[in-house]
């Protein structure tokens, strides 16, 4: 257990954390803004990876391949949105159905193989495991993913600040109010799921390039890792930032922290097979905190509690 090995692993952890940060931002849109747990992501992440790698292998350029991954992911979001809003299937179940269906589709995209490698020597990859050290900074994966993240955050900041974008935030906050104000909650849900899964698939494309292969199981548990990033970011930076763009940055930072912690845990010699269990426990604890606080440690001085119960002016 020499410290050198740990330090050596850190840039990789940051790069992975950044890529997963984009996934987490996608999950933030459904989980935090629309208030639905969308399990489509476990499938759409791989869809993005598979589409990107197969396009690259077929000779398409990086930009086209990544855009194709984004669009494919958006389509998966449309499907879940359709099942949920037009067919009346609960959001969680709609996501699971799409995810399961995608398993077959992803295999078909990868021409019936569970794993499709891509050789970084023969293809011009945007991001790669090999480009995190000893390369000019503009070729450095960390820099590139950071730049992509900034662009995504700015675009989302703009979108959710528009007349239409604001109705999406309202939909997640209070549906009855939205309908009374003439907002089409169903449409908004489909739009939110579309954007979210588009981002997840785009990140899937980046992740596949980074690790050098697309794998049919690469999205397994993505929702949990994404949620971990969201809750860690919220716990650490939630009080610091009161601005939507910074909230998204916090999610990305949460993801980086998650991967750094993971790196340390692996370095300390934890059995890698236990990682998913560990992630699940971490997320379960973080998700439980607000509830447990409310149920068992209800404080009389809690101003929010007052506001919700209070019926007096200026209480």
């Amino acid at each position: 257990m020499n410290i050198g090995a740990l330090i050596n692993g850190l840039p990789g952890a940051v790069a992975q954390g950044l890529i997963w940060g984009i996934i987490a931002v996608g999950i933030y849109i459904t989980y935090k803004i629309l208030d639905i747990a969308d399990l489509t992501v476990d499938g759409s992440l791989c869809t993005g990876g598979a589409v990107c790698i197969m396009m690259l292998l077929a000779g398409y350029g990086n930009t086209v391949s990544l855009i194709a991954a984004l669009v494919a992911g958006m389509l998966t979001g449309v499907v879940t949105g359709f099942l949920n809003t037009a067919m009346g299937i609960p959001a969680i179940l709609a996501g699971i159905l799409t995810q399961l269906g995608l398993y077959s589709i992803n295999l078909k995209i990868m021409e019936n193989r569970a794993n499709q490698p891509i050789n970084a020597n023969n293809y011009d990859l945007l991001v790669s495991l090999r480009n995190i050290k000893n390369v000019p900074f503009f070729e450095n994966t960390i820099f590139i993913v950071m730049a992509i993240t900034v662009v995504i955050v700015l675009l989302l900041y703009w979108f959710f600040g528009t007349e239409f974008g604001c109705t999406l935030r309202a939909s997640g906050s209070n549906e009855a109010m939205c309908r009374a104000q003439g907002i089409n909650v169903n449409l908004n849900r489909v739009v939110g799921l579309t954007i979210s899964n588009g981002l997840v698939a785009l990140a899937g494309g980046l992740l596949a390039q980074y690790q050098g292969f697309a794998d049919v199981n690469m999205g397994r548990g993505a929702i949990v890792i994404g949620l971990a990033a969201v809750v860690i970011g919220d716990a650490i930076f939630g009080r610091l930032f009161n601005n939507f763009a910074f909230n998204l940055v916090a999610v990305s930072l949460g993801s980086i922290i998650y991967y750094l912690v993971l790196q340390v845990v692996i370095w300390r010699g934890l059995d890698a097979q236990m990682l998913k269990l560990l992630s699940a426990i971490i997320v379960a604890i973080f998700l439980a905190i607000p509830y447990v606080k409310n149920q068992y440690f209800k404080s009389v001085r809690n101003p929010k509690h007052h506001a919700e119960k209070g019926v007096k002016f200026n209480a």
Binding site: F159, G161, T162, E163, F164, G165, C166, T167, R169, A170, G172, S173, N174, A176, M177, C178, R179, A180, Q181, G182, I183, N184, V185, P303, K304, A307, E308, G310, V311, K312, F313, N314, A315
Partner: protein
Amino acid sequence: MLEIRNVCKTFNPGTINEKVALDDLSLKLEEGDFVTVIGGNGAGKSTMLNAIAGVWKPDSGQILIDGIDVTKMPEHKRAKFLGRVFQDPMLGTAAKMQIEENLALAMRRGKIRSLKWFITKEERISYRQKLAALGLGLEDRLKTKIGLLSGGQRQALTLLMASLKTPKLLLLDEHTAALDPKTAAKVLEITDKIVKENKLTTLMITHNMNNAIAYGNRLIMLSEGKIILDIKGEEKQHLTVESLLAKFYEASGDSFADDSALLG
């Protein structure tokens, strides 16, 4: 203005929980009418308002607003005609959003929501004035999250939101019932002011007979999904609790009907 033609609604048809909530109900409002609605618990008052708002489609009958048949129009499309305030103060506003964002959402009711940046400077100035007129000290708290406000403040805001974009019809469903008496009186006062200033056609459900008598130019009473009393004009002006009770006993043909059936 509003016309309800023979609307029927049965919940859970064909089950043991079958409940006829609206029984061939018809009602016609004139422009500028302020109608108070009373009736016992489960009389169908909320169901009537929900039918108008389009929460679901009636089993039969028609609903017209300003001559337009809205019977098949989904709730969010119908919203352009309607201002609504609910009994639960939590329902009318989005807790996670700021005061000004809630107002701006309401300001665009019935309009296409574009990709323009949300709140303009001029808007903010007008919101400040309108909030000041509520007299609740909210004019300096445009950026405050709604979740931090009290029930009374939220209900007053919902009223303001319902009237920001002048609706053809204002629907109030026991909107003061969840408030303490003092706050309820204040919210009612704001209601009356907003209705008068904008000359709004209004349907106000209330569980308080005195309020039903004091406000509006017409009073209707529902029982078992039907209108059993309809008092307007001169008669409404001179209405007292005693005369209303007398009319109720006469209409229901049950001189010992308990008061809870009346007051809800």
